[in-house]
Amino acid sequence: MIKESELVVSQASFQETVLAGDYFMKVIKKGQTFRILDLAGNQAADTLFYNAADPSERYSAVDTIREQLNVYLTAGTKLISNENNVMLEIVADTCGRHDTLGGACATESNTIRYSLDKKCMHACRDSWMLAIAENEQYGMTKRDITHNINFFMNVPVTKEGGLTFEDGISSPGKYVELTAHMDTIVLLSNCPQLNNPCNAYNPTPVEVIIWD
């Protein structure tokens, strides 16, 4: 569902560009709203969420899908934790559909999807591994890396049970906005994938904007 935001960028309390292949990790306070802005279009922002007070509570793709009885995420979607609490809600979305079935790229899964000799190409999971290593204050390990949201990715499921990777439905300037229902650690990998036609083999920056 397309729903535009009424928030004004000049009133934001935080604004940062996340380059393709980099990660973004920050606590969003309860009540704050943050926007992920697809600057150049068809980018994928592979994102995980954790309860800042206890990161063992985290975004759960399966609980979110089951509770809303829908596989796609858009405005109105409540992001549910593995403890079945609402962590965040998507409050605005000019893209219309985001994926949570496809997971993130990893060097190992790239060998399956593309070729064994792609194994050393940079991948989202490597960004997350670096993020948890560089941010020891959160006490996170590989066990905390779970199934993510791919903001701006379009992965339609067919009636016959197929899964297709369509060209993105995002374009320059499209965004998604979420309001936190608890203090939440956002861990975002701006996808470095060079093998996927969805981003025209050219990963690009996204911007994160936060309002109090």
């Binding site: 899908i65 079935l101 496809g102 190992e108 899964s109 790239n110 064994l116 899964l163």
Partner: protein, 252 residues
């Protein structure tokens, strides 16, 4: 009698056992053996998770399994992948046709809201156990916890998706006697429960036991159905071969 290396239906049964309804269990399944699950009464659901006993951080990954094979449903030919690019097991036989892996588990709350509470104190082992707690118990036996709980398989259960993305639980997906056979391509810790599917529309809490068999599965040949089902699977088998380099070729 043929050795039946490629036809699990006639492969040697090494062991057979039952898992009661609304229960949970775990076992290590060796490379070179298969796990056949049989829906005894029809309408069973088996929640399942996989871990590598050599490194518990390697675990079943539903997104990699689905996107790697461009599928939402799982059936014969599909391989079930770890997060490390390897194949835990291949679905070599399946009379059901559709198994799902995106709906997670029943919780205590879901069970109470759908079917009411049946506690242990009053109902003993006929209680209304839930899938989430079942996995927590099995995980804890191996030093694992809720952080280690990945998106699980729900074998014998199916959910369809319409053009808008809406989920629909598919009724009567599995009949009495239906079975699915998983051929293990590496040693695997298998966690499972027989609690109902979280989207089950049954009016009464469904109590459905399953029988499981461990079968001898033999060598995987170049022409193997699962290996050739998709190019991705051939690469997955290559990764498994690299993982097992220099080791024993098979278990007696």
């Amino acid at each position: 009698m043929t050795t039946g290396l490629h036809t699990p239906l006639v492969a040697k049964v090494l062991y057979e056992d039952k898992i009661d309804a609304a229960a949970h269990w775990s076992l290590r399944v060796r490379k070179g053996t298969s796990l056949k699950l049989i829906d005894v009464e029809g309408g069973a659901n088996v929640g399942m998770l996989f871990y590598n006993p050599e490194n518990m951080l390697e675990r079943y990954n539903a997104p990699d399994t689905l996107k790697g094979q461009h599928t939402f449903k799982l059936t014969k030919g599909n391989c079930l992948y770890s997060d490390m690019g390897r194949i835990f097991c291949s679905i070599v036989d399946d009379s059901v046709g559709w198994h799902e892996t995106v709906c997670g588990n029943t919780t205590k709350k879901i069970v109470e809201e759908k079917w009411g509470e049946k506690n242990y104190q009053e109902f003993r082992n006929e209680w209304n156990q839930n899938g989430y707690n079942s996995f927590l118990v099995e995980l804890a036996k191996y030093g694992l916890g809720k952080k280690d709980m990945a998106a699980n398989l729900n074998l014998f259960s199916a959910v369809g998706v319409d053009d808008e993305g809406n989920l629909q639980y598919l009724e009567n997906n599995s009949k009495a006697g239906d079975s699915v056979t998983l051929r293990f391509e590496m040693d695997t810790l298998v966690l499972m429960h027989t609690c109902p599917h979280p989207l089950s529309t049954a009016t009464e809490y469904p109590r459905k036991p399953v029988t499981y068999q461990i079968l001898q599965s033999g060598e995987v040949e170049d022409g193997d159905f699962c290996r050739n089902y998709r190019d991705e699977n051939a690469r997955g088998f290559q990764n498994n071969e690299i993982y097992h380099l220099g080791g024993a070729c098979c278990h007696d």
